[in-house]
Subunit: 184 residues, 2 copies
Amino acid sequence: MSRYQAGIRTEAKIIEATRSLLARGGLEAATLKAICDEAGVKAGSFYNLFDSKEEAVIRVVRESIDAVDPDPDGAGTDSVDDLVTAFVRFFEEQPLMARVYVLAALNTEPSENGARKRFLRHHQRRVERFADAMIRSNSGERPDETEMNAELLLGALDGLAFRWSLDPTFELSRFAREAAKRLS
Amino acid sequence: MSRYQAGIRTEAKIIEATRSLLARGGLEAATLKAICDEAGVKAGSFYNLFDSKEEAVIRVVRESIDAVDPDPDGAGTDSVDDLVTAFVRFFEEQPLMARVYVLAALNTEPSENGARKRFLRHHQRRVERFADAMIRSNSGERPDETEMNAELLLGALDGLAFRWSLDPTFELSRFAREAAKRLS
DNA sequence: ATGTAATTGGAATGAACACTCAAAGTTGAG
DNA sequence: CTCAACTTTGAGTGTTCATTCCAATTACAT
């Protein structure tokens, strides 16, 4: 009943190859052929385990984002500053992965709702995290205002990250912190 | 010595076809074949007038952005509110064109500086416009703080627009105005 | 051991697409 | 009217890429 060990190992090799390629060369480098070569596997094996290339890419990007989460278990101990730091770290440490994330979100056709809804859910979870952290640190605040603030701060962070991706000399960290100061 | 009329007309037809396709279906719809069919022209004519497809696309996107400029002549009469309104209008009236703009900025390889530098220059001009408008409306402010504010506000607007592109029910206009209120 | 189900190899498919070229046609200045 | 410069044609090139197919092989439960 359980899965074959061989399949599990192959899947791990494919994911690792995809991660390595995305981190080194972005979406352009992660062609199916490159992934299979890097993993030492043929195309048939890939499609035995994944429905599409996109599936593997999305999984890797999601895992990369989770890897910098300051509170992966949802204990509710993260401050706004922790969250901003984690955000900045993701972009500074894995710039190509971040670019893949944004491209994947934009490239999904407006019609096909699957991928787009996933991104939206992820965004909304982040907004809630920020809002919770804001309430924790600053209890004398109206709840609707907090949500607005969280949405504005995340918007600012996304935009500043985009700005930084155009010009890596942009001081993302400094601006991100300043945005947090004024919007929470 | 002056250009042949035929070439000028063909160029106009190609630009118009490109604009129409980008507005209707985004980058995916604007293939070379589609552009040429729409313009009633063959591929060879296209390449007689343009060095690459990208050249035509960039021209159309730039013209679309200029078309919503509240102060195209640089008279210095635009307020922060005018600029925010123009920004929101561009996204709401030409969502696909806006998406093309962002994609084009992100898709350029980090190595090839040409296209990326163009986007950066455009961004910096926008920051200056915002900073000037801020100084005009609120003269008792330190200049370095103004620049920071302008950069933060534009970052927020870009990020909110991205947010909106994931979910068109997001009230871009309301959030954009709120961001302007808090960051200027 | 044996049969079934999972896995693998790797060639083949087929679609998409930007771009080129040489020959034929057109324009317009003098 | 003439001729060089310009423009158009449209088939053709070359490339990249994800995905499919299925026979051969291997893993695993009984």
